[in-house]
């Protein structure tokens, strides 16, 4: 197997390995009719209701070509039907690359990528957060940057004669994070 040779130090999703494929699960799923409305309320996600399941999104999706389980059309249908638990706890929800090809090609004008983003945002609210997002948010909170810039980079800039890197006011940034309920994302 090729993949045994991947050093998967960065693969640290905290969620259980459930799958979005309804057919693989013999247990009937509980429907929550109010779930759809929670999604529709969010900006750009109101278009979920006009999805007619043609599958242009899945056939355009780069991830779907290499993942056995990620199918945007299926996720949208499950959201329409109110399969809250299944949608929000699915690790495959996080496989959207946000390339927006699905959105641009949807013949119905469904903002597919935005609906999927809203679903991930709701997953976070329900406590499902892949570790990488805690890391990124915490870095931004502490430094203003998504990644911790190594000291050597600052030195190299000086040597090149370039202006120093921006040094954002972190107190302001922390305030913005707090006001947008981002504190829940931070590493504890």
């Amino acid at each position: 197997m090729h993949f045994l040779s991947f050093k998967s130090s960065t693969r640290r999703t905290t969620m259980t390995q459930t799958t979005v494929e309804a057919s693989k699960n013999p247990q009937p799923s509980r429907l929550d009719p109010s779930f759809k409305n929670e999604v529709l309320r969010e900006h750009d996600a109101e278009t979920l209701k006009i999805c007619f399941q043609c599958g242009t999104c899945t056939s355009s999706c780069p991830t779907a070509r290499f993942s056995n389980s990620y199918r945007p059309r299926t996720v949208l249908r499950m959201a329409q039907l109110g399969l809250r638990q299944k949608v929000l706890s699915s690790p495959t929800l996080w496989l959207c690359t946000a390339c927006f090809t699905c959105t641009d090609r949807c013949p119905q004008g469904v903002e597919v990528a935005s609906v999927l983003r809203v679903l991930r945002n709701l997953a976070v609210k329900s406590g499902e957060v892949p570790l990488i997002y805690r890391e990124l948010a915490s870095n931004i909170n502490e430094t203003g940057y998504a990644y911790k810039i190594p000291e050597i980079r600052h030195k190299k800039r000086e040597e090149t004669g370039f202006p120093p890197l921006p040094k954002p006011k972190t107190a302001e940034i922390a305030k913005l994070i707090e006001l947008t309920h981002g504190s829940k994302l931070l590493k504890r």
């Binding site: 090729h2 993949f3 040779s5 991947f6 960065t10 693969r11 640290r12 999703t13 969010e42 900006h43 780069p62 991830t63 290499f66 996080w94 496989l95 959207c96 690359t97 946000a98 390339c99 927006f100 090809t101 959105t103 641009d104 990528a113 983003r117 809203v118 991930r120 945002n121 976070v124 957060v129 990488i132 997002y133 990124l136 948010a137 931004i140 203003g144 940057y145 998504a146 990644y147 810039i149 190594p150 980079r153 190299k156 090149t160 370039f162 120093p164 890197l165 921006p166 954002p168 006011k169 302001e172 940034i173 305030k175 913005l176 994070i177 006001l179 947008t180 309920h181 981002g182 994302l185």
Partner: protein, 296 residues
């Protein structure tokens, strides 16, 4: 009124990935802009554009993004950025806040707490869009002193250069032309290849590296099959996937690509007569020296 924002002077938004791991992009861009007479004004208080946390918290992205827009508004300058992710994020935020009063009021309520207010007075452009619309092909053509006529390359613009159309919309993402035109101005030939507009996979590498690297691998394969001697990118994240991760892909799949990946600004700089050292070409992971030796 429009002319009050001088066309060839921008607030320069660097983002996170470039200072973190792709300094060669910034170095080459600054030198090329300098020679083209484009003035870059620093944004010493800028923060992350917000894109990395959008999947987890959209509102946080909007607030972070809007803070940068406010900083540029204070400078009374349009923003230019080298990263397609930063470009799509801040462009989208800018347009949404300009057109959706309710959203603008909500974000301003938050920004007011740190003494800022979004007014909607500036624009955000990626390098490629700025080269096309503001600098102009004519000026670039005139700056080329050493046409790279023997060189055959391919381009990877990256999804966020042109998607989502609703907020980008300055070129067709299915049949993009601008980057190809810019490449051909250097004298190099830009080849077509299969699935040119496909994603590099960067945004999900921390979630599932198998899927991400297979996306990159497939593109490398198609570029190689087309006969390109190098791949040209305009985004630090795409560049990381194709250049930095190329050896990782070669090891994982027991394949050999040896495909140099240059930032567009390096290609243009070479054609403008600059030396590889000035353009930080030795910082590239895949050694392009054979390619450079063959240049006119």
């Amino acid at each position: 009124m429009k002319n009050r924002l001088a066309q060839l002077k921008y607030a320069f938004f660097l983002g996170c990935t470039i200072p973190y791991r792709e300094a060669s992009y910034e170095i080459s861009a600054r030198r090329v802009f300098n020679k083209l007479g484009v003035e870059l004004v620093e944004m010493p208080d800028a923060n992350c554009c917000g894109l990395p946390v959008d999947p987890a918290n959209h509102e946080m992205m909007l607030a972070l993004s809007a803070r940068n827009l406010c900083l540029a508004e204070r400078q009374n300058l349009n923003i230019i950025t080298l990263c397609t992710g930063c470009a799509t994020t801040m462009r989208k935020t800018n347009l949404m806040l300009k057109t959706d009063k309710k959203m603008k009021d909500e974000i301003n309520r938050i920004l007011n707490q740190i003494g800022m207010e979004f007014r909607g007075a500036i624009e955000v452009k990626h390098l490629v869009q700025a080269l096309k619309e503001d600098v102009g092909f004519e000026k670039i053509k005139n700056a080329v002193q050493r046409p790279l006529t023997s060189l055959k390359v391919a381009e990877h613009g990256g999804c966020h250069l042109l998607r989502p159309v609703k907020y980008m919309g300055w070129d067709d993402p299915e049949e993009p032309q601008t980057l190809k035109n810019l490449i051909e101005l250097t004298g190099a030939k830009c080849l077509d290849y299969l699935d040119e507009a496909e994603c590099c996979g960067y945004t999900i590498i921390a979630i599932d590296d198998r899927v991400a690297l297979q996306l990159t691998r497939e593109k490398l394969k198609h570029v190689k099959d087309a006969g390109a001697e190098a791949l040209i990118t305009v985004c630090p994240s795409c560049h990381l996937m194709f250049d930095v991760n190329q050896s990782r892909i070669e090891r994982a799949f027991s394949e050999n690509y040896n495909l140099p990946v240059l930032h567009y600004t390096q290609l243009l700089g070479l054609a403008m007569g600059m030396s590889p050292d000035e353009l930080a070409i030795k910082e590239l992971r895949v050694d392009p020296s054979r390619l450079l030796q063959a240049l006119p």
